[in-house]
């Protein structure tokens, strides 16, 4: 073994740097995903020669990306030593920002969440306040967990996120948060920690989170529906997240129900409004009492009332469920998922009445083959799915073969030449913005 390492490293020396990067990237991903872990398996899967494989593995051990693990299954002769990806070579910072809460966490390089924290927050506090909060808690998480320096930040934001034109290019505006337009939120966060940042819509990261660690684990075709103030859906088809041409796929809340948008009749605010009307005109004695006590009603109160058997609330949630189900049915027919996961505050509060409504409409309007084995469940991950998904986004980006080839030889994505350039550009752009005369206000 020792002899192999010393003699063959020169034999396997590549002719071109590109070929070396490509083989390093290929082998790293095979080990990282568990597709092949012994030298023999790696040679077979990569179709690279023994000497090349040995050389590349030695390089990646030196770079701190791989380590030798325990003995594998012997297939005649000596049991082979398994290669392991060093999931502790770096860390990932992740955050999911929603209309009324933020979630933050730190994950290892396998996307395993190590610590997470959720707290109430108001988006209308402005981007500066949210940015400051994120930086404070990220600092605290890094200090608390004593994990190695981060390799990237994954961010889930309310509303669709445009696809960037090139690697490490930061998407320019946060289109769905009006008051944030023109504020360099992603740039500032990326610069603050000196790491690349990757953003997706909240519903897309939640879909990825459910597929990785929730109800969709091990499934290749799932739909995730987020029922909150707005309504949107995420789709994983044949193992891949579907983002759409502009990155805005899944905005089912904009389907029409009569003359109204779906989210205007079945979103959290619509449900609260209906509940308040029923409290005031006597249709729901329970809500009337709650309204008198609290002075306001939310979908949580309506869910609680339904659980206690308040007929008005049971019917209201059932009707909202059916409306959502009617919007989901065509999507179900189109993509034939094996699972629909329903999350968001309306799903958390809505209980069985809401779920029954969704099931009724989806099963009634779907082709029998499509609905035969289809499961519809409530999310168990809650807002954690956004964090797990954000970590997945960072991993998929950093370890995408083209991107990986750009940094694998340096041992860390932070040394990727394009990222270095991007960081310089952002720094220069922010400096010039800061130098401009005061009084320029974001629209």
């Amino acid at each position: 073994m020792a002899e192999e390492k010393t003699t063959l490293r020169s034999v396997g020396r590549p002719r071109s740097v590109d070929a070396a990067q490509a083989s390093l990237a290929l082998l790293l991903n095979l080990v990282r995903t568990g597709a092949a872990t012994t030298r023999q398996e790696l040679e077979r899967r990569s179709e690279l020669g023994r000497a090349v494989v040995a050389d590349r593995l030695a390089t990646m051990i030196e770079l701190g990306l791989l380590k030798e693990g325990e003995l594998g299954q012997a297939t005649g002769g000596r049991a082979p030593r398994q290669m392991r990806f060093r999931q502790d070579a770096g860390s990932l910072l992740v955050s999911a920002i929603d209309q009324s809460s933020i979630a933050l966490g730190i994950a290892d390089l396998n996307g395993q969440m190590l610590v997470e924290h959720h707290e109430a927050a108001q988006l209308d506090a402005g981007p500066e306040a949210i940015l400051d909060r994120l930086a404070t808690i990220f600092d605290w998480l890094l200090q608390e967990t004593e994990k190695p320096a981060p390799w990237g930040i994954g961010l889930a934001l309310p509303g669709p996120i445009e696809k960037p034109a090139a690697d490490f290019e930061i998407v320019p505006v946060l289109q769905t948060i009006q008051s944030w337009q023109g504020f360099p939120f992603l740039e500032r966060l990326s610069m603050r920690f000196g790491v690349p940042i990757f953003a997706r819509s909240g519903v897309q990261t939640m879909t990825m989170g459910e597929a990785k660690a929730g109800g969709g684990r091990g499934l290749s075709d799932i739909i995730y529906v987020k029922l909150g103030r707005s309504i949107s859906a995420g789709l994983i088809s044949e193992g891949q997240l579907h983002r759409g041409a502009q990155g805005a796929a899944g905005m089912i809340g904009h389907s029409r129900v009569g003359d109204e948008l779906l989210e205007a009749v079945a979103g959290a605010e619509a449900i609260a409004r209906e509940g308040k009307a029923a409290a005031e005109d006597g249709r729901s004695p329970y809500l009337a009492q709650t309204l008198e006590r609290q002075g306001e009603l939310s979908v949580v109160d309506i869910g609680h009332a339904a659980q206690l058997g308040d007929l008005f609330c049971v019917e209201l949630l059932g009707r909202c469920g059916r409306l959502v189900g009617e919007a989901l049915a065509p999507l179900t027919n189109l993509v034939n998922p094996s699972l629909i996961v329903v999350g968001g505050v309306v799903a958390e509060s809505g209980g069985d009445s809401l779920l029954a409504g969704i099931r009724e409409a989806v099963y009634r309007q779907s082709h029998p083959m499509v609905s035969r084995d289809l499961q519809i469940m409530r999310s168990q991950m809650g807002a954690s799915s956004g964090l797990v998904g954000a970590a997945q986004v960072v991993l998929e980006e950093l370890f995408a073969p083209a991107m990986l080839q750009g940094w694998v030889g340096h041992g860390s994505p932070l040394h990727h030449p394009e990222f270095q350039k991007s960081l310089e550009r952002v720094t220069a752009a922010l400096a010039s913005k800061a130098a401009q005369p005061a009084g320029r206000v974001a629209p």
């Binding site: 809460s101 979630a103 966490g105 395993q112 969440m113 190590l114 610590v115 997470e116 924290h117 959720h118 707290e119 109430a120 909060r133 404070t136 808690i137 605290w140 608390e144 967990t145 660690a213 929730g214 006590r293 609290q294 949580v300 609680h304 659980q307 505050v345 958390e348 509060s349 209980g351 069985d352 168990q380 991950m381 809650g382 807002a383 954690s384």
Partner: protein, 353 residues
């Protein structure tokens, strides 16, 4: 948040659950007469696994669990004291997964290191209700039924607000933090920092951590040594707070401290107008009682919320006797009552002079 009675907690829970869940107040978890009759008929057996059984918090928690289970003819068949040792907890859970218990109420000691043992217990068919903490990655429904906790975020905010009064403009405050990865103490510390950051940005925060209780006194001394201008300390629970009080007193250092939980020693120190100036107290008896009701509901197959929380109660030296009664469901000990009376008499005398 704190002038409210334990039964009126609906509006005062500040923190979100381990998966960002909005809390369901513990008093909303009630069994109907039909459920109660069914529970009594099935004579459930429940075991409890705690980090320690010797702390005041644990004793009250157990009393609440035992009383509520007993009310519904469920037997509390075993109480495991893990003595803060996660390996003991892992072994206990593995054993309980083979024994004749229907459900386990457990407080996970730490995070990732005990997650698998808790998962395996649920996979063995037992119902699992967690206190205070769900290890990262464990999911309600699949891995456990529910987490029942005090609003630790609210407790941290309370402690910051109470300590703030003792910190001069531009002063420094210390955090005596727990060096073990634990959700409840994380939440308290994050909330303390957040409150200080938004209400007292002039205050500099420093921190020392202790990995075991015996190190808490030394950590407090180290913090004062490094920052001599320190004007106050927040300790993440009462036992390390009292270790700090003892260590500081030995060096003749007197510094205001706020902490979580009204243990006997902390209550006495407050009554004597010692270093402890304020407490954000959990209501462990009520928490235990709620955990028992959640456990029974889960055993009956009823839907249970993933995050059930109770608001805490602020305690200051002026209402330590009344707070003691609410939290402990007992009259305050004679020593506490006499200390309050004598310091009150001294105050009147001071005022007269």
């Amino acid at each position: 948040m704190n002038s409210k009675t334990p039964g009126d907690t609906a509006m005062s829970i500040a923190g979100l659950g381990p998966h960002g869940e909005r809390a369901v107040p513990a008093d909303q978890i009630q069994l109907t007469q039909t459920d109660a009759a069914q529970a009594r008929g099935r004579r459930f057996s429940v075991a409890v696994v705690l980090h320690t059984t010797t702390s005041d918090w644990s004793k009250q928690e157990l009393a609440g669990i035992a009383a509520a289970l007993g009310l519904y003819s469920a037997a509390l068949v075993e109480v495991v004291d893990c003595n803060f040792d996660f390996e003991l907890q892992v072994a206990a859970l593995a054993r309980l997964a083979r024994e004749k218990v229907d459900a386990v109420i457990s407080i996970p000691i730490g995070n990732a290191r005990v997650a698998q043992a808790h998962r395996a217990l649920t996979q063995s068919g037992r119902r699992l209700v967690l206190l205070d903490n769900a290890p990262t990655g464990m999911l309600p429904g699949t891995d456990y039924a529910s987490v029942v906790s005090t609003d630790n975020f609210g407790l941290g905010q309370s402690c910051a607000a109470m300590l703030s009064a003792h910190i001069p403009q531009g002063g420094a405050a210390g955090i005596l933090g727990y060096g073990i990865d634990f959700f409840a103490t994380h939440e308290r510390e994050i909330a303390f920092r957040k409150w200080m950051g938004s209400h007292r940005p002039d205050v500099t925060l420093v921190r020392e951590r202790f990995a075991d209780l015996d190190g808490a006194g030394a950590a407090a001394l180290a913090m004062v040594g490094k920052t001599p201008s320190l004007s106050g300390i927040f300790a993440v629970w009462d036992v390390p707070a009292m270790k700090a009080v003892q260590a500081l007193a030995q060096k003749n250092i007197d510094i205001p401290i706020t902490t979580v939980d009204l243990g006997n020693e902390v209550a006495l120190d407050m009554a004597r107008h010692g270093m402890i100036k304020g407490v954000g107290a959990q209501l462990p008896y009520d928490q235990g009682s709620a955990a028992a009701r959640v456990t029974l509901a889960a055993l009956l197959g009823l839907p249970v919320p993933p995050w059930v929380a109770l608001a805490g109660r602020e305690v200051t030296p002026s209402d330590v006797i009344e707070a003691y009664q609410v939290i402990w469901h007992l009259p305050a000990p004679r020593t506490i009552i006499e200390s309050v009376r004598s310091s009150f008499a001294a105050q009147i005398q001071d005022a007269g002079e």
